[in-house]
């Protein structure tokens, strides 16, 4: 548009200032912190020393960090897989008309609008030693003694992953459902007439046509899952010990429980590198996809 272009810049100022001060600046500050020995004492005393990459070296050698990295990969991989499959099946189911559809659709959104402290508290109870899962499994005679879902060495990461899968269903459902609505119904109908069965229709019509939406859903899902914090913090605080940490909860615990801000920042920088890498990788897949289609 030709008129008043310079004045229109003024409208960008609030967003630029805000994101600059509360987004970019903290990130840069983060990077500085990761190169210093910042603990509560050195921070208050103003005596934090530059230590170069010592925080990174210490982090990468730390067995807790290594376990956390594995946990983050398990958590992200399993969450993405199951959220996607469940969301996709729901989208297929809701892509036809039936009575009360609108109401049921709103109810499926519940995990998304429920405050995280509420769903987190539920899963904390659900998975506790005397909680509902063990309650049902024991009374149905499926197990002999309670499974320590969130109090053992090996189970907690899988328990929080299950909780996160539940949390991610609405997001996958909504994106895939919106995508499905964009596919002309005639395509399914003609395939139906040609004698294609349900599996053939899904695999040879729906999935290929939905590809761009599927890639977007998985990309965003991946980015949102890698950074999950609240849910895990409320259910296990990364414990018992440090066995169920994700990169996000490990950094938080290093900062606010151990007051080791320098090392927390190093973990965050590693996490940011991971997220940026993932975004770039997935974007290049998407670009290739679009290129091959165009």
């Amino acid at each position: 548009m030709r008129l008043s272009p310079w004045k229109s810049y003024l409208f960008l100022v609030p967003a630029l200032v805000y994101v600059g001060v509360f987004g970019v600046y903290p990130l840069a500050y983060n990077f500085l912190l990761s190169l210093k020995d910042v603990t509560l004492i050195t921070y208050i005393g103003g005596t934090s020393q530059w230590t170069g990459f010592a925080n990174y070296v210490e982090t990468l050698q730390d067995p807790v960090f290594q376990r956390t990295l594995t946990n983050t990969l398990i958590f992200t991989g399993l969450s993405l897989l199951f959220q996607f499959i469940i969301g996709f099946l729901l989208a297929l189911l809701f892509n036809r008309s039936f009575p009360l559809k609108g109401l049921l659709q709103s109810l499926i959104m519940v995990p998304w609008v429920l405050p995280i402290i509420v769903s987190g508290s539920f899963f904390r109870w659900f998975f506790s030693d005397r909680g509902m899962v063990n309650g049902f499994l024991l009374s149905w005679g499926l197990i002999e003694k309670p499974i320590p879902w969130i109090t053992s060495q090996q189970w907690p990461i899988f328990s929080v992953t299950m909780a996160n899968i539940w949390l991610g269903i609405p997001f996958n459902f909504v994106l895939l459902y919106t995508g499905l609505r964009g596919i002309p119904l005639e395509l399914f109908e003609s395939a139906d007439i040609d004698g294609a069965n349900w599996w053939q229709r899904v695999f040879f019509i729906t999935i290929p046509l939905l590809r761009p939406v599927i890639i977007t859903t998985l990309t965003l899902g991946c980015i949102f899952t890698v950074k999950v914090f609240d849910l895990v913090w409320i259910i296990t605080q990364g414990g018992p010990g440090d066995v169920s940490h994700l990169l996000s909860t490990l950094s938080y615990s290093l900062a606010f429980n151990k007051f080791h801000f320098g090392r927390a920042s190093a973990v965050l920088v590693i996490m940011l590198v991971l997220i940026t890498g993932l975004t770039m990788l997935l974007n290049s897949i998407r670009a290739e996809e679009e290129g091959s289609l165009g």
Binding site: V19, G23, N30, V118, S139, K227, M271
Partner: protein, 275 residues
Amino acid sequence: MAKKKRRKEWTWTLIALIPTVLIIMPLYFIAIGGFQTVAEIFHRPPYWFPPHPTLAFYKSALVTLAPYLKNSLIIALGNLVLTLAVALPSAFALAKFRLKWGKATFFLLAFSQMLPATAVIIPLFLIFNNFALINNYLSAILGIGIFTIPFATIILRAYMQAIPTGLVEAAFIDGASLLHVFRSIIIPLSSPAIATAGILTLIMGWGDFIVSLSFLKDQAMQPMSIGLYNFIGQYGVQWNKLMAGSMIFAVPPLVVALLAGKSIVAGLTAGAFKE
């Protein structure tokens, strides 16, 4: 024939009911948990209905949480005002003008949406601490803004792009100022998107956990989410109060979501399918 088709459609309702019930099951168990004693909550096998329902825990949760309510309202509403004040003008500029900095700003906004909360909160904690902002509502409002502002801007921009540019140009030719166009054309025409973005911002501000947990250490300043977290004490969880309080805390967003189901879905997808 029509009757048969109708019956077939109801069959699909029944099929769709199964996953829906499974998904909202946690909410049901939270709701009945608040009517039960701790012994009943942990009864084996778990109760499907509270055997001796009592309102006592809902009452006591309400009493304990009442002081936190004011803080939740201040933070959620303050965040709403901040978010709209920043997101509306920038969405307008990004949607309607080709600016040299436009692409960069949009990229920055999209990028902030990808940021892990902890990556912002840990450095911000130290920065706010320097400015004596810790334990101040402003710290929570500004902190939540980093998640709500990019989200709201992207939703509003997507909607404003669909407003015919001719309308804006005609107003300029008639001599209207930029501010006038923004106030008298863009804002009224975007009201559905403003409602959607506003609702989602309110829900996010109301449900915030990590920002308040990190910045509001003084109990007198904490919102209800942290009030509930305080029920998970160091020496044992007050389960029935936690359940009852959770239900009370969840009602406002649930009511809003059920009333505004469609626009929430629209907002989610506008935020996802950008460009």
